[in-house]
């Protein structure tokens, strides 16, 4: 399947976003080939930042949304038409700064949507300020003497908020990342994949992550075990990547809509309305 568009790619050479984009394409292509996913049923959305350009680079239905709001945007799509497969691409500043409330609540309500965060621990597009996940001491343009805040832990945040699929990937481990994306796309409920995505221009973390990440699946982690997932999420010495936690729960739209597909309903309920009025 051709997922290319004619948009000119403007990411820096060597940017981690390439690996992320290609892994996502591979995941979609493989799922389509396997008959597990229909590309026309997919709608993607993004926030604003370097990560946002992803929607221009993918020949899929899309809504290029606002800084921090992509997960809300796709949640609305899902409410309108629960048959869609929706994915939000957000940045770390975008998802954990500007739009953090929506991340917490999407997890809380088990919105059947995938949230993929391009976590480069920096604001790329606005040329290098610290983000919620930047290390303490990070020297960015707005923190020239080093960030004085501790970084936030996105995996623990989403686990604590009720996320039903919580994963971390690294663009330097492409095959593994494709596997995570495929699982996340197929997960029924809120699936969160935080992707370690080095920004070669403002925060080059390639070698750090190459040296310090390890794959959970290699060490027999059980993603059904919440406590184990929690412990792994708090690990900082070595950085685990892989599927931390997955559980099946009813989704928000299952419970809200039952059989209703709002986007397909066209006949106005004029008799129902007449009835409502006549009771008054």
């Amino acid at each position: 399947m051709n997922l290319e568009t004619y948009a000119e790619n403007t990411w820096c050479k060597g940017c981690g976003n390439f690996g992320l984009l290609n892994s996502f394409k591979d995941a979609v292509n493989e799922l389509v080939e396997e008959g597990a996913l229909k590309a026309e049923n997919m709608v993607i959305s993004s926030g604003i930042g370097c990560h946002g350009k992803t929607v221009d680079y993918l020949n899929l239905n899309s809504f290029y949304s606002l800084h921090g709001r992509a997960i809300s945007c796709v949640s609305g799509m899902k409410i309108a038409n629960p048959n869609l497969t929706v994915v939000a691409f957000q940045g770390d500043g975008d998802a954990f700064g500007e739009g953090i409330a929506h991340v917490i609540f999407s997890a809380k309500r088990n919105m059947d949507a995938m949230l993929l965060v391009h976590d480069n621990m920096v604001y790329g597009l606005t040329t290098g300020q610290f983000t919620p996940t930047s290390d303490k001491g990070f020297k960015g343009k707005s923190t020239p003497r080093g960030s004085i805040e501790e970084p936030m832990n996105p995996l623990a945040l989403v686990l604590a908020s009720g996320g039903t699929f919580v994963a971390r990937g690294f663009v330097g481990k492409r095959k593994h990342l494709v596997g995570l994306f495929k699982k996340a796309l197929l997960h029924k409920g809120f699936s969160f994949v935080n992707v370690l995505q080095p920004c070669v221009t403002f925060n080059n973390t390639y070698s750090h992550f190459r040296e310090n990440t390890y794959i959970l699946e290699d060490e027999g982690h059980d993603p059904a075990d919440f406590q184990a997932a929690w412990d792994k999420a708090l690990e900082t010495e070595r950085i685990p990547i892989g599927l931390f936690y997955q559980v099946e729960k009813p989704t928000f739209t299952d419970l809200l809509l039952e059989d209703l597909v709002p986007a397909e309903r066209r006949k106005p309920p004029s008799t129902a309305i007449s009835e409502i009025i006549s009771e008054r």
């Binding site: 568009t5 004619y6 948009a7 229909k38 026309e40 049923n41 997919m42 709608v43 959305s45 604003i48 350009k53 929607v55 221009d56 020949n59 899929l60 239905n61 899309s62 809504f63 290029y64 949304s65 606002l66 709001r69 809300s72 945007c73 796709v74 949640s75 609305g76 799509m77 899902k78 409410i79 309108a80 038409n81 048959n83 869609l84 409330a101 929506h102 917490i104 609540f105 809200l256 809509l257 209703l260 709002p262 986007a263 397909e264 309903r265 066209r266 106005p268 309920p269 004029s270 129902a272 309305i273 007449s274 009835e275 409502i276 009025i277 006549s278 008054r280």
Partner: protein, 554 residues
Amino acid sequence: MVQDLLTVIVGGEAGHGVKKSGNVISILMNELGRYVFEMDDYPSLIRGGHNFSVVSSSTSPVYSHYMSADIIVCLDKRSVDMHKDRLKDGGSLVYNADTVTLDPGTGLPMKTWIKDIKGIPLMAGTIGVAAVSALCGVEFSFLERIFKANYPRGLEANVELARMVYERMKDDEGKFELATAETRPGHLLAGNEAIALGAAAAGLDVYIAYPMTPASSVLHYLADLSKKLGMAVVHPETEIAVINMALGSAYAGARTAVGSSGGGFALMHEAFSLAGMSETPLMVILASRPGPSTGVPTYTCQGDLDFALNVGHGEFPRIVLSPSGTNQAFEKAAELLNLVWKFQVPGILLTEKHLGESWMTTSIDPESVEITEPSLYDGPLEQYGRYEKTDSGISPMLFPPVKGTVVKASSYEHDQKGITTEEAEKVVEMQEKRYRKEKAIREEMRNLLTVATYGEGSKSLVTYGSTTLSALEAVKNVDDVRVVQVIFLRPFPDWALQEALSGSDVIVAELSISGQFENLLRSKGFDVSAHIRQYDGRAFDPPELAARIREATQ
């Protein structure tokens, strides 16, 4: 003497069932064949404080409530202090004899009676309803029937209390001989209910909102009716989530609306502008209360006109309209939903607490509402572009899933396919495409009721929104003044207003300290010879407004 116009005030603490008794009095009057306007006055708290309901009714339409009353029922002492001066000559004051002694007036030992029958404090309201009913000479069996329908819980206790009231007030029974009619003149609806039903009739599929007075009742009403109406109703974490979800929902093809008051809508601005840029149809219900900031949450005002007209960064067409009463609210809510889908723009239904939370006698016909389908693409799919250039500026829509093409919407400036662009020529192309829709909307408005004229007179009292209701009631007692209501506020229907005014003297009445509406009229080239303003959070009292009109036209 048979009396036509009758005003009743019921006052008490929150928790006394004041609003409920106002509602039941309205229902009683409506059942007697009378038109009703009920205004509920309540502060922003849950217990204590002072609530009161005003019910004005007549056998001809009553457009707004009066603040001087024929009957005042005081369920607590504070109500007596607050309202006794509003009693008209020959009126009746009924009070709670357990908390005050008064002369003249009818004291009823409300607390004692409720205790005697092991009732609850809410039943004070029931006593109030029964007192009004007795004073108006309503047959007990008739009242019993009303109680059956409206107090299904604790019915027996309520009927027993009513019997005690009738017994005690025997001498005053039928003091007010009311004009009645055989049939009910319409149904009792609050403005927000009429707005909600109007949108529903025009095919609203999804309603998303975060609670904020005085818009919350739209959310409550639709949430309650969602199964019956086949609608998805959602209350998310913030107003920012509300509007961003709504845009996703509309993108996917569901007719979607959001609602809030000033503060909540302020949080939606960034995404309102996104609706403009992405050309996503969106209906916003903006229910005003006095600001700035948290302001006076449960009262009415028209200080948000400039805000509604100018919200959103950047330039893009949008529609702002404001209905007067429930009938028009129903029609215009349906019309706005159709218009935003026809032109793929955001639109605001601007209203105030005075319409949204007041009950009015309403006659509407859901069958009369037609659904305008958006322009849908039927060309070769491989050529589809979400933002295709057209003469009208309206690009045909598609909703995923569609096999054979993709639908790409964007907040960035984009080309016809929806891919980001910063090229000057393409920026111009899209700016102009969007702007052409403004012209198309103006064209369309020529076929719609954009300005309404009521009555005759050589002078025009110009209003918008629910102040029109106060004006209509006021001019019943003023000579030679007609009411002209500007319904569409953006685009501004200058042609229709010119025709309506036809050179007459213009007096502007509005609930604003700075005169935003007057300034709007002036900016459109209309002369204003006098203005009447009020900004105390209350709607105009018709006799007071009448006096100010007379003064202004002398």
